[in-house]
Symmetry: C2
Subunit: 354 residues, 2 copies
């Protein structure tokens, strides 16, 4: 169905009509000038992210349902990174004429799947048109008791540096998708030159073979916010001293924590968690897997520091890896390689403005 | 300066380095995964708006400073429309390579001027690139005591319908700008056809003559949120029964209030406040001025209803006009013209998706 047929209010009605409010803190959701929330006991966490077509996502790789899911998850991840609980989300979408009502419903179904997973209420937003690419802006709101909030600036000398999950896979997933896309366009180009209609027909049903690489795709296309790790840390009685989520790459995020905490760090290459598929793919593409893990970005794993006294507790948590420790600022930010060489960390993370 | 030279974090540092927090509710502003706010006593209001280049604004009309100001004001306006006090704002910007650091500083200077006017803290955001047009997404957060919040759904039979300021001027301002733009391009086209280099040189310094129409331009380019009216209503001890801001046009907003409140309304054409310049411009352009006022949009005035018992109080408030009254739903939504004819209201407001 064409979106113009429904109009802005008709579309919003259709997208939001069966939203059931799940949180007591949501007093009023969609339908007025503002959403109304109530947080008498806890502090309120607010984060926002903008995703632009062609810069942050490519609709030849990712379908709208996954895109909706990922857009919500990357914002929910920021709430977890403060040791908070996500509660509400607003979503603004700008779309061009090429999208149908069903397309937008697909996007919303992915967004709401992510919200349902973490009990987040969709409380507002804006749906408008774009003359060019698609633009997505999401704001997520959460809560935490004042004493539970973990900032980036609390890391102390001797603290242990930990990460959840494994790193570099989302980046390798993107490399894989880009490689397949360029192979595809090359083949189309060749078939056109030869005017090979049969080849062109076959290419129109082209399905790249991703077997053995499913995990890389999943990490790129189906981002998960690590609320499970937050839960495990709570159960173990561990409160991180500093924390953030890894969106731009481990190096870049470590530098943020060190800068804001006024400390240095010492990270061991051999301890950086890397999945088997990531390592295989890096070799296939002739890339250094540690560089991919340090600078790849889009992992949305948690990077955090804990007091050295929590050493035993942290080692018992499944899915968390100890990768180094915090030092005095004068020692700088150091990566110790497998062969015991030392390098200063450099933030080569993804920079949308370079 | 090129933005790539600073990078994302350098640009954010530059834009946010001298932001001083003004509100006690702002615990932590820019610089972590989330902003942290504290609202122990009041409810929290959240609103968000997305503005797309070519759809919501045209950079040949509006400079970046005014655009920043307007982007903030239209969101602040939504907080006032709930009878709240705006406190925090996040801003996400997607920009193409053609913008310099100084351009973005211009945008921010306008945004912060609007925030300073209403004591709003800029607490976060996102700055990224766009392959095509500029995209702006703003979320504004405010507060209000639970009993003070005014929704759209509280209008009752016999309530008086009021609007602040005057209507239709912002729309006429847009018509004026579009007319001058098309005249300009016509002249350029003609000069090119004749290869008239002198005319082309003169046109490169083209300054349209807007004398006598300054108010229309101001209303289009320098949007003001009507916090002053909220203040006056409070001082007069008036609590509206329903309220919203007029962004899409009076007709459209009246229909929202009537639908959500389950009532009808009777609006008198002769009472609709219209500025002299709006009337002159409508005549010049051969447009019906009432239609412009009813459907023009972008006025950002307040539309609200008050109990009939507040009749005298409301008449003493400067800048508020009584335009009609609320009726039982069965009488529908009616516009009574100057010659006593009755028409059903139609929402012909601006629809970004049609």
């Amino acid at each position: 169905m064409e979106i113009a047929k429904l109009g802005e209010f008709g579309l919003i009605d259709r997208l939001t009509k069966d939203i059931a409010i799940k949180n007591a803190s949501t007093v009023k959701g969609v339908g007025d000038d503002c959403a109304v929330l109530s947080y008498p006991d806890n502090q309120v966490l607010v984060t926002t992210d903008m995703l632009m077509e062609g810069v942050h996502f490519d609709l030849t790789y990712i379908d709208l349902k996954h895109l909706g899911y990922k857009s919500a998850m990357v914002n929910i991840s920021d709430i977890f990174a403060m040791n908070g609980t996500p509660r509400q989300l607003t979503v603004s979408l700008a779309i061009s004429k090429r999208f149908s009502v069903e397309d937008i419903e697909e996007f919303y179904s992915g967004l709401r799947l992510a919200c349902d997973k973490w009990n987040v209420d969709v409380v507002g937003g804006d749906t408008t048109s774009s003359f060019t690419g698609m633009a997505i802006s999401i704001t997520c709101i959460g809560e935490a008791a004042k004493q539970d909030i973990v900032y980036r600036n609390g890391a102390k000398d001797t603290d242990l540096v930990c990460v959840s999950g494994d790193l570099g896979a989302a980046y390798m997933g993107l490399q894989l998708l880009e490689r397949e896309k360029s192979v595809y366009y090359q083949q189309v180009e060749e078939a056109r030159k030869k005017n090979d209609k049969r080849a062109l027909e076959e290419l129109s049903h082209f399905q790249p073979d991703f077997s053995g690489k499913e995990y890389l795709l999943q990490r790129q296309l189906q981002t998960e916010a690590r609320g499970d790790i937050i839960q495990k840390l709570r159960e173990a009685g561990i409160r991180p001293t500093a924390m953030m989520d890894i969106s731009d790459g481990l190096s870049s995020e470590l530098m943020h924590i060190c800068k804001q905490s006024g400390v240095g760090c010492r990270i061991y290459e051999k301890n950086i968690p890397i999945d088997y598929q990531t390592a295989v793919m890096a070799e296939e593409m002739n890339m250094n897997v540690t560089t991919c893990a340090m600078n790849g970005g889009e992992d949305y794993e948690l990077l955090f520091t804990v007091p050295i006294g929590d050493h035993e507790k942290i080692q018992q948590i499944d899915g968390v890896k100890l990768i180094g420790h915090i030092t005095d600022a004068k020692f700088g930010q150091v990566l110790v390689t497998r062969d015991n060489q030392e390098f200063a960390l450099k933030a080569q993370g993804w920079n949308p403005l370079s």
